[in-house]
């Protein structure tokens, strides 16, 4: 009798001990807490949208593809030398920050706009890498509706995904121009576009790239057009949590490596030749440092010395990723626009690998 009473008491105590494990962990040194966790796990957990053609989309065979997905693959290649060591989590716009903050995903590569309040420690407290796609908010409407400008939307219902910057920009722009409207908010992109296609709202608003991506999967893509109005700046950016600068740096320089490789003309096809050239020629100091033949860039970031050749060998440089997923090689056929290299007048610019 006595022993049974005692074991009853032991149960809640055990529970309490188990929960004690959720106190915060601290990083430090070149090996960060997050990277140690990822390496011990043997794969990267990457938060993506999963239903957005061109950025992250699940194919019929269950494989993921897209620009956001390629960032995850590049990161896995940098960490493990293997782009397949990624587990993808589909997140909607309302879940994404909580999933990142709780550590459910290591990296958020989900067409997320970098903003002050999301970056600030007193706001969402994220740490942003360089933007991988400079976008702007647009409005799509059926061509048959005759809607040409924002003014034509007066008094009409507009579909929008809740918890996005899009929702706020829409409110701001319409308020500026004193246009009354009805925002119909849905939790996921799929619901938003389903309601639009069913004709519940006369227009749908989101990032222009997302509208083009979704339109490409519509039954009749030619029946819908984007209004010329660009309502906002939307730099879409991979993000990690604040508080692990080592991990954030590794992500930042993985993205920069994609930009730098394009600038240097090192593609997926030419990486082997370039690497051989760098190894053979000690005078090519810039190239040797970039490809990890000499110097300690990898070690300083907590990554393998040859992380750049691994990344480029896996996904190619930024230009290849763009063309394949959203550019001429895809169904979206988006123009490079401001997403050109800085040398060509665009915004894609990697700080020096020095």
């Amino acid at each position: 009798m006595r022993s049974r009473a005692r074991s009853w008491l032991a149960l809640p105590l055990l529970l309490a001990l188990g929960l004690a494990g959720c106190a915060s962990d601290s990083g430090g040194g070149v090996q960060s807490g997050k990277m140690a966790t990822i390496k011990a796990r043997g794969k990267l957990i990457c938060g993506v949208d999963g239903s957005l053609p061109g950025f992250s989309f699940v194919g019929p065979d269950g494989s993921y593809s897209g620009l956001d997905v390629d960032v995850c693959k590049a990161m896995a290649a940098a960490l493990f030398g293997d782009p397949t060591k990624v587990e993808y989590r589909n997140l909607n716009s309302s879940e994404r920050f909580a999933a990142l903050a709780s550590g459910e995903v290591d990296l958020l590569s989900r067409n997320t706009t970098m903003t002050l309040s999301r970056d600030a420690a007193g706001g969402n407290g994220l740490s942003f890498a360089p933007p991988t796609f400079y976008d702007g908010q647009g409005v799509m409407a059926p061509i048959a509706s005759g809607i040409k400008t924002l003014k034509d939307l007066a008094g009409k219902p507009i579909c929008v995904e809740s918890g996005t910057t899009t929702e706020l920009n829409l409110a701001d722009r319409m308020r500026e121009q004193s246009i009354p409207y009805t925002p119909l908010k849905f939790q996921t992109g799929d619901q938003t576009y389903a309601a639009y296609l069913q004709g519940r709202c006369v227009a749908v608003t989101s990032d222009r790239s997302q509208l083009a991506g979704k339109r490409s999967s519509f039954p009749n893509p030619d029946a819908h057009s984007l209004l010329p109005d660009v309502m906002s700046k939307e730099p879409l950016t991979p993000a990690t949590v604040n508080g692990d600068p080592v991990w954030a740096d590794a992500v930042r320089w993985t993205v920069n490596a994609l930009f730098q490789a394009e600038e240097l003309g090192i593609s997926k096809a030419s990486i082997a030749a370039k690497l051989a050239e760098a190894k053979a020629n000690p005078n090519q100091a810039d190239l040797r440092r970039f490809l990890g033949v000499e110097g300690e860039f990898g070690k300083q970031l907590g990554l393998p010395a040859d992380f750049v050749p691994k990344i480029i060998g896996a996904v190619g440089h930024y230009g290849e990723i763009f063309d394949r997923n959203v550019g001429p090689g895809s169904r979206l056929k988006l123009d490079r626009g401001v997403n050109k290299q800085w040398k060509d007048g665009g915004l894609i610019y990697s700080p020096p690998f020095r």
């Binding site: 809640p12 309490a16 420690a121 009805t182 119909l184 389903a194």
Partner: protein, 322 residues
């Protein structure tokens, strides 16, 4: 006898130990939360409630626009929740009672249909049913002149238009202006789909509660009533239901609370309820802990209030010993 064998003392000691463990656990978890929030530079703060919300809400009883503060938006969301919950409680009680009564009908077809309805509806997840009502039923409604027109009611994709008192308390039905319906009372299809889904779902459970209550009344009561020459409906209304109520009311309480909580699924069909506003607020402010605490408190108070009312009703219908 030592104290640990004492049947008077022992239960108290065990209960005190369990209570202490729970308190320590709660204190530990709260301490952990506050410590980690402090470490992240995020102490609980409520200042953001007074800042401009910056987002709009499609339909509100409480007037709201983007320049008003967050608390006002949350209040508008709460009013929207109360609106659908109240309408849902009335609707599901009426439909559920009718269905529960029908399952005792002498008409076999009616009985069979009622059983089929209950079994189908309560075995399909509510979220699925809401999505069905919204995307398949309500969004398939036609617009303009093709809209479904019933006396005093027009069902269109742009909304549900009902006759109501117009200017000067004149009874006014829906009418068309340039191909767009107008009416004194307009409900959105989002509200319509959510309300229909909640009523259809809860009514199936309430029907079972009512059926159980009626079945609990002794068979002799039915026989006695019919020997007095009362009809089936009179028997049910005058003899059986008053006695069944004291079994039905506690069960109804549970169903009402479920309905209030289920209303948070509104976000799936684009109706802006408290949960939907809270979600947007959480995303804009990053104040996850505060917003979730507010949500918890709001639904807790709402459900406790429903319980309070239902417990009062329960006392009213209990047998008073004479």
């Amino acid at each position: 006898m030592p104290w640990w064998r004492n049947r008077v003392v022992l239960p108290w000691v065990i209960q005190a130990a369990v209570a202490l463990t729970v308190l320590v656990l709660i204190a530990f978890l709260l301490g952990n939360l506050i410590r980690n929030l402090t470490a992240a530079g995020l102490l609980l703060s409520w200042n953001w409630l007074g800042q401009p919300a910056g987002f709009d809400i499609a339909e509100t009883l409480l007037p709201f626009d983007a320049s008003q503060p967050y608390w006002r938006g949350l209040a508008a969301g709460l009013v929207n929740t109360l609106r659908v919950v109240l309408a849902g409680l009335v609707g599901s009680t009426l439909l559920g009672t009718l269905l529960g009564m029908a399952s005792f009908s002498s008409n076999g077809l009616l009985r069979g249909l009622t059983r089929a309805y209950v079994e189908i509806v309560r075995n399909i997840p509510l979220l699925l049913q809401l999505v069905f009502w919204y995307f398949v039923v309500f969004l398939s409604l036609p617009n303009g002149t093709a809209a479904i027109q019933l006396p005093g009611v027009v069902l269109a994709k742009s909304g549900l238009y009902l006759a109501w008192f117009g200017e000067g308390l004149r009874w006014l039905g829906p009418y068309l202006v340039n191909g767009v319906w107008q009416a004194p009372l307009r409900l959105s299809v989002e509200f319509g789909a959510l309300l229909t889904g909640l009523v259809a779902y809860s009514a199936a459970f309430i029907a079972e509660v009512v059926r159980g209550g009626i079945a609990a009344v002794a068979k002799g009561q039915w026989e006695a009533a019919s020997s007095l020459g009362l009809s089936w409906f009179q028997t049910l209304r005058q003899v059986v239901l008053p006695q069944a109520l004291r079994v039905i009311v506690p069960g109804l309480n549970t169903q009402y609370i479920s309905l209030a909580k289920n209303s948070a699924l509104a976000v799936a069909v684009g109706y802006t309820d408290l949960y939907s506003v809270a979600e947007t607020t959480l995303n804009q402010t990053g104040r996850a802990v505060e917003v979730v605490l507010l949500l918890l408190a709001a639904y807790l108070v709402l459900d406790l209030f429903i319980s309070l009312v239902m417990n009062g009703l329960n006392r009213l219908v209990q047998i008073r010993e004479r």
